[in-house]
Every structure is written in C-alpha cells, then in structure tokens.
C-alpha cells in the first residue's frame, strides 16, 4: 500500500504544453506514472511529442481517459481556475505544483473542491511519490526507494535532501508527500498524518517542518494522544531571525509563536526524536524501526 497515488493513478497534466509541464510529464511517465492526458485550453485534439493526448478541458480529459488525478503546472494567475476545473471534472486528487497563488483564491477554491470530493495537495507543493509505483510532481524520482517510511514535508528540496539520506542508508519510503509551503494548503500536516495512520505499509512517519504556523505543535499533540506509527522530525529555521520572511509564506515567524525552538520542544516532549541536521535522519529512523 501507500497513500494518495499508486499503480491505479491515471494522471492528467494541467499545463502540459508549458515548459515545466512538458518536462515533468516526460519525467513522470519515465518513472512509470500513467500520464493519460494533458490539458491546455485551445490545444485540444493535438498530442505531445510522446503521444500524450491534449484536451481543451478537464471535462473532456476525464471523460476520454478515465483519469482520477491531476497535477497542475500553470502560472499562478490561472492555477485556482485549474483546481476549480479539476474538481468540477470529478478527479479525486489534485496535486498543485503551481506557486504564487493568492491566499484569497485558495480559501475560495478549497471548500469548492471539498464539496465535490476532491482532495487538493498544495499549492506550492513538490508533489507526491509512492516509490516504485507512481510519481506525481517534480521531485527527482531516482533518489527514492520503496519501503515503509512515510514522509510529510512543508518543504520541497529539503525533502529531497532527507529522502536521499534515507535511501542511501537503505531506508525506503511508502509515500513522500510535500504538503506545500503556503499558509493555506489543501491537505495539512495533520490530515497527511491521518492518511499514513491508516496505511498498513507505513511503519514510521518522518515530519519535515519549518518555522511559522503551529502545525508541528499540533502534530506533536497528535503523537501524545496516541498516534499508531513511530514518528521522527526535522525542523528548518533554527537560525532564522524573527519577523523576516524566509522565501515562502510558511517560513515566517512573528513574535513568540511558531519558532523552531517551540516546535523542537513540542516534539521532544511528545517523545518524537528531532534530527539536528538532514544527515542525522537515517540514523534516527533506523533506531525507531
């Protein structure tokens, strides 16, 4: 097993004729993902150079291909519409790689998607990969390895760093999920933890958090209240000065809330070991398993 994506995933790439969409459509297909179609309004009826059919709308794409998942690589100003369209077309999962979407757009589109039974990952997410099965996103596939550790992260490249460390040390992953770095995301840390809690294959969960918000504190509370899997964590931003925005909206800390120290403390009090550097993670996880 695994969560969210697997061999049954039939994927539409929204924005497939763009630079990033085109590049990653290839990469995903090369990894073994069933990329069954793409959508670019006005280019319906054509095919990509790899023979993937392009549709004008998600409605057409889902009807013609039986897709159940979409991944979004369109510019920020069109990304919310792409999520609306995907939800309306009835896919169960939308993975939004696009970044820079105004928060106001997200607070409107998320209830719309939920009402239609569509789960949203992201925005500003690197995607989801169930190693050895399917990759939906932009992460390099070759750093992953099939196994029993679930990874949930608010970050992109930092996740790769830690996953790579796990893989090099022989620790495989069930699914690695980047929830996205924005303040408002479709699936948050706690919801992702619940998904892993219900997954038989996952033996332990690695949480990769950062400064800002208090998802990590809530996750620590969830562990204290009896979470069914072993948990290890990493927190980025121990050296970040307060009040400064560190790159994306998630990484900002104001006043005394959401500091790295608060989060590390919350985890430690919940008995969750926290790695001081990415390179320590494999050792910690080995100790848990």
């Amino acid at each position: 097993m695994s969560i969210l994506v697997d061999k049954g995933t039939r994927l539409i790439v929204q924005g497939i004729t763009g630079r990033d969409g085109g590049f990653h459509a290839k990469q995903m297909a090369a990894y073994g993902t069933k990329v069954v179609g793409g959508v670019t309004p006005g280019k319906g009826g054509t095919k990509t150079e790899d023979g993937v059919p392009v549709f004008d709308s998600m409605e057409d794409a889902v009807r013609e291909t039986g897709a159940n998942t979409s991944v979004i690589y369109v510019p920020a100003a069109f990304a919310a519409d792409a999520i609306y369209e995907a939800s309306d077309a009835g896919v169960a999962l939308v993975v939004c790689i696009a970044e820079g979407i105004p928060v106001r757009d997200m607070v409107s589109v998320l209830p719309y998607a939920r009402e239609r039974g569509t789960r949203v990952i992201g925005p500003n997410s690197p995607g989801v990969i169930s190693p050895g099965k399917t990759k939906v996103g932009i992460m390099p596939g070759n750093i992953h390895m099939e196994g029993g550790v679930g990874v949930i992260s608010r970050s992109g490249t930092l996740t790769y760093e830690i996953v790579y460390n796990l893989t090099r040390n022989g620790i495989g992953q069930s699914t690695c999920l980047g929830i996205g770095g924005d303040p408002i995301v479709g699936t948050n840390l706690l919801e992702a933890m619940e998904l892993f809690a219900a997954d038989d294959e996952t033996e332990a969960v690695v949480l990769i958090g950062e400064i800002g918000g208090n998802d990590e504190e809530q996750a620590a509370l969830m562990v204290r209240n009896g979470y069914p899997k072993k948990v290890a964590a990493f927190i980025a931003g121990r050296t970040a000065p307060p009040g400064k925005r560190m790159g994306h909206a998630g990484a900002i800390v104001t006043g005394g809330t959401g500091t790295a120290a608060d989060k590390v403390k919350a985890f430690e009090e919940a008995g969750v070991p926290v790695a001081a550097t990415p390179g320590e993670m494999a050792g910690i996880v080995s100790g848990l398993l």
Binding site: E99, L110, P111, E210, A236, M246
Partner: protein, 377 residues
C-alpha cells in the same frame, strides 16, 4: 508587503472606516500647517514599517500647531529599530474612553479568513494573547457567506454593552472584512479602535500587509511599497525574483528552496560558523537568477566563501551550473565557491563544471564543512 499607516488609512477610509482626518508631511513646518488645518490637538506619528513606534517615542500628542512642529522635528530623522523616520503623519486627536483591537488575517486551521477582536486594544495583541487570552475572541468567516449578522452581534456584545457603540461596530467589522478581502491583504488591523467620550467610534491606527501573491491584481498598490526601509540587497533580490535576507556571518549561501536554504543556514550554525545570508533562488531554472544572486552576495564584504547548495527538482542543475560559470566570468570573482549540485540533470551539470576551480562537494554536510574551512582559513 508592508505598507505605511498613512496609506492604510487611505484604504480604510475608502471602505468607510471612521478614520480621523490627517496629513502626511516630511518637514516640521508642514506639520504646523497641517495642525492648523486639522484643528488641535493632533497626534504626530512616525511613519516606519515596524511595530512599537509608540514605545520608541515615535508617537506624540501636540496641543497646538507650534507644538506639532516641535514634535515633528523631534520625530523626523529619529531611528526606530534601525529605520530612519522620513515622514510623519499629523492626525486629528481623539479623546479616548475605551480602546479595542480589531484585526483580520487568514486562519491556517479552518483555512478561512478570521476576525480577531479584543476589548484590550491599544497594546500589543500578542501580549494580550499570552497574558489574558480570555480577552480575545476569534470569529472564522466563511467567504462564501461573508461576515454574518449573528457574528456581528456576538462580536459587538463581546466588546461593549452600550447599544449606541454596538451599532457603530457592525459597519466597522464589515468594512474591515471587505477591505481585507478586496485588497488581497494578509493582515489588516485597527489597533486601537477607539470610543470617544461622546460615544463615537474611531479607527485611530491602521495597519495593512498585502499578500505578495495577490499584488498582480492591484497594480496601483505597487507604488505603496517603500524600498527605502529595506536592505538594498533585499530590494534587488526581489526585483530579480529571489528571496534574500541579509545576516551577519561570513558564509554566503545560494540554495534552491526556502526549507533547504534554512536547513543550510542551520547546519552552518550547527558546525560553529555563521551564514552571511538566506538566499532562495526558487523553483525556476533561470541561469540569470544565479548571476543576480551572486552579484547580491559578493557586495557583502564580510563574505569569505560562498556555498551553492542545489537539490534539483523543478530546478535543473545544468541551468545552475551555467549561471555559475557566467557569474564567475562576468563578476571576476575571487571568493571561493563550494558547489554541491544534485538531482535533475546533475550529470550534465557535473560535466559543465569539470576542470573549473569551483570546489565540488558530494553532500550538504561536506559542502558546509568545506565552506567553513575556507572561510576560517
């Protein structure tokens, strides 16, 4: 994006919030004229993009125009938390019989807009949250429904028992919510919202932060940005679509991704050294960005070594390598570069960098340690 109080007041007034009249001035003499025009007493307020102006002496009451000039003179040029005051707002003063806090933000948990109010206004709301949390009410607003009458009743009753005051609060809550949503704010605060002795409600301070991602819908607001209060490197970085924060160490960092960039800084600290900056080149693969990043970093004379830590995903390592080679050539760099490139197209990148004097590193740990050794050596 933070905007000045004076600009936030203009927005608030446009949405019908009861903002006392005011004038923005840059000279003490103008402050006198403004005070005469508005009628005294007036408040003279430093316009800086940082909290705690009052405690720092940046907000003063003046009982007549002469005193307004005097206070303006004292405040103009003042240093508040490292920022120089270049403008002051002269605003008609309001007598205060009670002070409330009213703020709007987005709530991560409900994923909806949230209005936060308190009868303990005029002071730092985070302090209120810590010491007397029962004095804060939070109301989640569903954007599909807007602020609802029952919510307005509940909030008004929390702030006041006086009917005439409560009546004025409904329009204040509604206007603040509308302003917050329509300008794509990430924060909008009235602190304090004041009741004067005659029972009238006034918004005597105004704070709005704009969601940078929403700015493209408000081209008129781009002009409200005040670059003068930012580090020049940060301004230049933003223009090059980079995230940069200057720090005081000696190891420059160029990283892709905010999380990895922070983890890189954390690791430098962990191994006993100090980073010179946070710099995230983001997810795109533009060699020009690497060049811009390099330019910004080398301007800092403290920098003794630069660590490039890239884990390619949507960023392609060969693009980064091309940017580095370009920078090396264009900038005639003499600061050593430690380069760690892994992930998408790493093979192509390795080939591009073969035979150059860049110091390669296979892992993040190795890269950080090599950069520290160079900086210390």
């Amino acid at each position: 994006m933070k905007i000045h109080e004076a600009d936030a007041r203009v927005i608030f007034a446009k949405y019908g919030l009861p903002v006392p009249p005011s004038r923005l001035v840059t000279k003490a003499a103008e402050a006198k004229g403004a005070a005469e025009e508005l009628g005294c007493p007036v408040v003279v307020k430093a316009q800086v993009l940082v909290g705690g102006r009052g405690k720092a002496g940046g907000v003063k009451l003046a009982k007549d125009p002469a005193e307004a000039a005097e206070k303006a003179k004292a405040i103009l040029g003042m240093d508040i938390k490292g920022l120089t005051v270049e403008k002051v707002l002269v605003a008609k003063a309001v007598d205060i019989s009670s002070e409330f806090y009213v703020g709007m933000l987005f709530d991560r948990v409900s994923r909806k807009p949230l209005m936060m109010i308190s009868p303990a206004g005029g002071i730092d709301i985070e302090e209120v949250a810590r010491s007397t949390p029962e004095k804060i009410m939070k109301v989640v607003i569903d954007p599909s429904a807007g602020l609802l009458p029952f919510q307005v009743r509940k909030m008004a009753a929390f702030l006041t028992g006086e009917k005439e005051v409560a009546k004025q609060l409904g329009p204040v809550f509604r206007s603040l919510y509308r302003a917050f949503m329509e300008v794509d704010a990430s924060l909008a605060e009235i602190n304090p919202l004041v009741v004067s002795p005659d029972g009238k409600v006034w918004a005597i301070d105004a704070k709005i932060n704009i969601d940078d991602n929403g700015l493209y819908r408000h081209v008129d607001m781009e002009g409200l940005r005040d670059d003068s209060e930012e580090d020049p490197g940060e301004v230049e970085a933003r223009e090059a679509d980079l995230s940069f924060v200057k720090l005081d160490g000696n190891i420059g960092c160029i990283v892709n991704g905010a999380g990895l960039a922070m983890a890189t800084m954390d690791m430098i600290k962990h191994y006993g050294a100090r980073p010179a900056n946070f710099l995230d080149i983001g997810g795109s693969s533009n060699p020009g960005k690497v060049l811009s990043a390099m330019k910004i970093i080398v301007r800092d004379k403290n920098v003794k070594a630069i660590l490039i830590n890239i884990f390619g995903g949507i960023t392609r390592c060969d693009d980064v390598a091309n940017g580095l080679l370009q920078a090396k050539k264009d900038l005639d760099l003499d600061i050593p570069l430690v380069v760690r490139l892994i992930g998408t197209n790493e093979e192509e990148a390795r080939k591009l960098l073969e035979g150059t004097e860049l110091v390669p590193a296979a892992t993040m740990d190795e890269g950080v340690k090599k950069a520290i050794a160079i900086a210390n050596g």
